[in-house]
Symmetry: none
């Protein structure tokens, strides 16, 4: 028999119907790996007493920690808490101290807490409350028998994740259930394919400590260096030398590390230069502005922009010359240039990014297939335009997201 | 004991490390539901013989169909096929007829098939090949004991899905394992909490046909009505009367059905009225425009807008009166009203939506806490403003997403 570890049990008929993707299991699996807690099984079961009991019988026989997500809400089909109490033959007891929090949470949204939410204040006798810092549904932390710890979380990912970080991790650490932490360093790349990057760093994939592995998503490629160690310092001593060797071979494409994103790197450089940015968006419809304002404090460098979806808006709000539109079409270098110059002038920023393209599936022409995107970058030293040909195979969302990232990378290089 | 159904077993250590989301389980669950094959359990297990045997012992005791994904490739850690054969005490036998296909598949990519891929031609004695129309890894279909059917698929989603449609569905249908198809109707709500909605429709949760269940995500709440029937007509006869009763109690909060979203409902109403929409965004930074342009064809009703993140942009591009900003602050009803009126005038649209708020975590004041959002809706009949108090506990993204949805719902009501 292998060492007992943690297992994840996700309760929700909607997962058995394929209505939602089980991202909670992915999040918790990653979190367990980072804490050095072994994890061998994930189970999905419906909102059904009998089957939850069956899953508990198995989980309690093979695991020392069982993490439940889902089924702790106020509705009749939320059975997780009751089913766990029943399985261990323990009554539910009320925690009236929870009610004011629930009422306050509704009050903040100008609503009265429905009586049905009272249900959420009942936990098995002996179980402690696992506080929910962001929602009304608390979880429980309970050791129903020696060597077995049960934690429950709501199924709503934002609530589950907030509870995991704020309340579950300290609980597991304090109980000595965590092991050597997983330490990773991530290198972020733009403008190079996963296979081209893999060729450059092939020998590093053979290493056992740290391990080096590539990941690709939405046009971005990452290298992850991973080791296990008690302290960040010990891990850094393993990771840093290999990172330096890899950067010596691939640095030109690497835009950041770890939590860096193209937005954060651009923001950092603009703030260091005390410069501001404006946007002019057509096919992305506001997605670039949304990305640039994803974090608090973006007003330090982002002033705003224009969503010039129609040609008329390009003329009215950005001063694009109607003749340029007629001569070259809305998706063209000259229009991207005039959009960027117009946004920079009208918003009084140091820099402006313009994006105009064909996100598809409609709107393509023989000369301009889906995925044709023109980017304009205007600054004090003039305007530059760039053509991105992103193709039609990955769909409209992908073209729009990739256009945003490509535009940010173009500005990043200008700000070097 | 409930009726035996199908269960899904996904094999792959990468899922236990949280490196990939298990979309295969979601795809197969939806496919089983649509075929009317009951499905009660999903399990994820690592590439480990002993644990795969443990999962098989359980699955074979409670299910009549077991679908495996993953671990059928050529590498040493691909153990699924061997582990299944071992569990039933049956030898692996070679299917040499598979080799030419595998060679051809590599040849198409200009490569020679590695000897390691020979492994993929071995299946348990008595198992039949489940052909893979798009990749090199075939699966198996095997009835190792009466009343138990095992199917295996590769873990690569595109290959698994192609095999499911092309080879597994016919197999399951021919064996008479499919049942009445599942038919659902989904009602979408805005402006009511899951628990408040549940209280209004409580009695319907007791129904067995159709079943009625609530779901909540990102401030939106859904009711799902589900029944089984041979034909859509038979299903509609069960669903429609209950839907009407539910709508009689909750109609004011229900904005759509099935694939409807707030954006689609607003788009449909604008197009029916042949009217256009513009936006003026502050705290959402472009998120409303991005949502409105998420689907091709949005240029029929969406003209564009202004991302007025700074006060100066609100004045310059929307004509907001600086005195209004000084007197009431950027996050106020009067500013939301002037932003909406300004966007409508400058973009020449029939309608304009303005959003100005404090998404947080920074920027709050005692009078205006995080989550304070003002929405302005301007139309030919004037401008209306609405205050949303969304709170600070669910974070910036949630406040921004909820502001976008709340603003769309306000316009939806105006377009009634």
């Amino acid at each position: 028999m292998t060492a007992k570890g943690a297992e994840i049990v996700c309760v929700g008929t909607e997962m058995l119907l394929g209505e939602i993707v089980n991202t909670n299991a992915t999040y918790l699996a990653k979190a367990l790996a980072e804490l050095g807690i072994p994890h061998y099984y994930q189970t999905v079961v419906g909102d059904n007493r009998q089957r939850i009991h069956g899953v508990l019988a198995l989980a309690t026989s093979r695991s020392q920690v069982v993490l439940f997500t889902g089924g702790v809400g106020p509705t009749p089909d939320d059975l997780t808490t009751e089913a766990i109490a029943e399985f261990f033959g323990v009554p539910l007891v009320e925690h009236p101290e929870l009610w004011p929090d629930i009422e306050a949470s509704f009050a903040r949204r100008g609503r009265l807490a429905p009586a049905s939410n009272r249900k959420q204040t009942f936990l098995p006798a002996g179980a402690a409350v696992l506080p929910n810092p962001v929602g009304t549904a608390p979880g429980m932390v309970w050791e129903p028998q020696p060597g077995l710890l049960i934690l429950t979380f709501p199924g709503v990912p934002t609530e589950m994740q907030a509870m995991w970080t704020a309340t579950a991790v300290p609980e597991l650490t304090q109980r000595g259930l965590t092991g050597d932490r997983l330490h990773s360093r991530i290198l972020h790349y733009w403008g190079i394919s996963e296979s081209a990057l893999a060729e450059k760093v092939q020998p590093f994939f053979e290493l056992s400590d740290p391990t080096v592995a590539p990941y690709a998503s939405k046009g971005q490629v990452r290298l992850r260096l991973t080791t296990r160690g008690q302290t960040p310092e010990a891990a850094a001593a393993v990771l840093t030398p290999i990172e330096s060797q890899i950067l010596a071979l691939t640095g030109e494409y690497c835009f950041g590390q770890d939590d860096d994103t193209l937005v954060r790197v651009v923001a950092r450089r603009l703030q260091a230069r005390q410069e501001t940015l404006a946007v002019a968006e057509s096919c992305t419809g506001g997605g670039l502005g949304q990305a640039l304002t994803a974090e608090s404090g973006s007003s330090a460098y982002f002033v705003g922009g224009v969503i010039a979806y129609s040609n008329e808006a390009k003329v009215r709000l950005l001063g694009v010359n109607p003749e340029t539109l007629t001569a070259h079409g809305a998706v063209s270098g000259p229009v991207a240039a005039e959009m960027a110059v117009g946004a920079r002038a009208r918003l009084g920023s140091n820099w402006a990014i313009a994006i105009t393209g064909i996100a598809g599936p409609g709107g393509a022409t023989p000369e301009k297939p889906v995925g044709t995107v023109w980017i304009g970058i205007a600054g004090a030293d003039g305007v530059q335009t760039h053509l991105e040909t992103l193709g039609d195979r990955r769909g409209r969302d992908w073209v729009r997201q990739t256009s945003v990232a490509a535009a940010l990378d173009r500005l990043r290089r200008r700000l070097d």
